[in-house]
Amino acid sequence: MSTLIDIRDISVGFVGRDGRTREVLRNIDLAVDSGECVGLVGESGSGKSTLALAAMGYLKRGLRLLNGSATFNGTDIFAQSRQELERIRGGQLALIPQNSGQSLTPTMRIGAQLHEALRLHSALPADHHATKAIELLGHVRLPDPKAIVTRFPHELSGGQQQRVAIAMALAGEPKALLLDEPTTGLDVTTQAHILELLRDIAAERGMAMVYVSHDLGAIARVCTRVVVMYAGEIVLEGSTRHVLKSPTHPYAQGLLASIPKLDCAALPIALDGRPPAPGDAGAGCAFADRCAIVQDRCRSVRPQLAPSEIGGTVRCFLAEEAKRQKGRTTGAAPVRYSGDDTMLDLDGLSISYAKPRLLEQMLGRGTNVPPTVDDISISVGKGETLGLVGESGSGKSTILKAIAGLLPPAGGAVTAGDQPLPHTVEQRHPSQLRQIQLIFQNPDDSLNPRHTVSDILEQPLKLYFGLSGNKLRARSAEILERVRLGAHYLDRLPNQLSGGEKQRVAIARAFAAGPEIVLCDEVTSALDVSVQAAILDLLNDLKKTQGTTYIFVSHDLAVVRVLSDRVAVLYQGRLCEIGQTHQVFGGESHPYTKVLLGAVLEPDPDAEPTLAADDVVERAPPERGCPFQRRCPRRLGAICDTDAPPWQSPATGHAIRCHISLEDLNAD
């Protein structure tokens, strides 16, 4: 096979405020053959996107090519004129960026957008465009392409939009596809479907792919070769099997150990510290500060990429050592709950976003639209962690907001301890507010950019405990200590912190109130896996020392598995299944739980997802019957459409809501 993308000794950098040139990519060599799929992995800031974009001659504003060259199919990319580059990009070399589904033009029909892509990037005469557009949509496995061409992007689900974006990239018959986090932000089930599609397309067309992702599970599924990047360098490169199964670089080992696994209930091991900022890597190994087996020479001499004994290349003096070392492969066991006092009780909670008139317009339906969330009855024990899982739009955040009093429920009751809670924040007593604290998904959004860390921590301290002056600051420092940040962070602004540090501050703010119940809404989704592991460890620690009750919302089942004592599965705002974590994750499960579990991608080239249900996103729950009726792979028939399924209990504490009998559920 011939080399299609050939990157030689490339360095890319920017000039910092101090006038120094800081390198974002350092002397990178990468060759991709046609028909090959190479995965680029690394923490955020490691330069993986920059490298992929450089392959198509694109550098973000402020970045400069310092050294090296990139050739595509024999043409020197950086020597091309603008027009020539534009002809190549989108034609033979196509990019699918993150959220590309959302970046479709909202006011243009899908067909028109495809025609535009065909006009720009294919040699096809205009009268063939219509048939070709339909053919392309078929290629990306969209049902009923003829109907889809007439639709607008907002009439498609996130997964379908992403498929259209892929179809557009295929319009120019590309020889190579660059994919930058193409499934990040999509649901597990949707992600699994898209990845299968990419695999098939690559195989059918013999295309080369460069797949950038921080998700090793996705990489394991589509890539044949993996390149691990750290601080702008390649530190390990080899076949997917070699990199994921027997990594020889300490960084890759650390990265793998920090990923929670579905089949293992232990806490993942955090990789402490953070990568050096561009230009700060120093003379020695860039990973030295975080490496467990670092030696003196690592700090003074920069290791070179060298072939490793078992294939691939590695940048480490002690690669052989590292391989033998293997390190701890499992972390500490999480704290498990064993009590029976109820802390939080949700009784028949139902929440509706419908402001009747507006919703009628929006959905074009009658007035009795079923509520977004309905009939949620769960009780959570004191010190227990309840995991809440479900796809996007299943109402996870909505339930947390109702518990916090930010969204008044339409019906049902919330009881904390033995007191019924009023529905809104305004009606609640300060002690009731103090009791329940919320931590949000994205710390960039939940921390006021204009407040320093001490401002942020002082708010609950002043409000609930009336502290002031020196006491206030001392207490803030103490709380910061508890989330393992030093007191010198007190005067920083959020933009002077890393993502993980920001989330720690957000956690500290919640714990400053001394809450009994902490609601965690996707608290690790915006973070790198290595940072995620540290945050999970911290939450577990706080649970141990403070005896906190958590409701832990996540779309990542492996993360939920690690922390939760019990798990509730939601579909379209309705409970499908609830039980002890091991009961839900094994043994008999609701068909929807099975679908979710089947779609989970493990960072293991041998693991294969099972794709049961379609990745269609539903806009509103059905009015009658089982909420999962439209997508259920095991649908029994009309009864599922008309009758609400009964709760069945295979074991104490485990309940499944389905018409299928327990024996049959078990059989599969």
């Binding site: 907001k401 916090a404 009093g405 930010l406 924040v425 609640r428 300060p430 507010l433 103090r434 329940i436 604290q437 919320l438 949000f440 998904q441 994205n442 959004d445 939940s446 921390l447 006021n448 950019p449 204009r450 407040h451 320093t452 708010q459 609950p460 409000l463 020196n470 600051r473 001392a474 420092a477 103490e478 200590e481 030093g486 007191a487 010198h488 007190l490 005067d491 920083r492 602004l493 703010r509 109130a513």
Partner: protein, 296 residues
Amino acid sequence: MTKIATTPAENTRLQRSLGVLRDVMARPSGTIGLTLVACHLILAIISPWIVPYDYKAMDSLLMLKGPSGAHWLGTDHLGRDVLTRVLLGGREALLVTGIATPIAVIWGGLLGIFFGLVGGRLDEVFMRVVDAFLSLPWILKMLVLIVTFGTGIEVLIPTLAFFYGIPVIRIARAATHDVVARDFISAARARGHGRITVISRELLPNVLDTLMVEGAMRWSWMLLAFSSLSFLGFGVSPPKPDWGLMIADARGFMSFAPWGVLGPVIALSSLIIGINLTADALAKALGIDRAQKAPV
């Protein structure tokens, strides 16, 4: 107990303002813009003491004379020194707009924040009204008022402040909407802070940045409007010097005595360019995306 950090607060409000100023100055647009604006302000303040002639002094022997050692910018059709009149000609404009701009930003900002917070039907209806109003040509709106109430500072300031506050409503409302949707507002509400605290501590600091940039933009538009009014004879009344008025007076002689127009035009445009450059640098320093700013 944990030891308390003894490092001085490095992120106080003053520190931040200084940081922003430094950032503005570090950009070419900021350096040039601020220098231009500062020169104008200083000259406007000290000009009565440094002008070479009396701005009213006419000399029929010196009508429309070109630049010379005695009259660097020549003389106008009444034989008055152009340099003197250019130096003094911005005072009235700066005074009026300098008072009207903050008023416009404050009332427009408050109303915009209010509607941004209230949301819903009321907000939608009100914004339609604002849009309709904005779509009328501004000069028409202002002339109606001035013709009704007469000219003079006491009319011009409220008029300009009123009209230029209206686009601020839109900007402030949009900025408020953006901030209100963010989780730190939900977090503050969920903690149980009162409405006033949420608005003053969480919302305002984030909206003020946008309003500051908007204020600078309004200022430059207002200067242009003021000069246009003078040009049309509705602003400053002669013989008081004013750039707009001077351009109007001198434009008839432009073909053979261009200095009469050139002086005030350069003065006015350099001030407006200076303000725009500063606003631009300020927006960049504060990280505000000016692309989403509503049209005038």
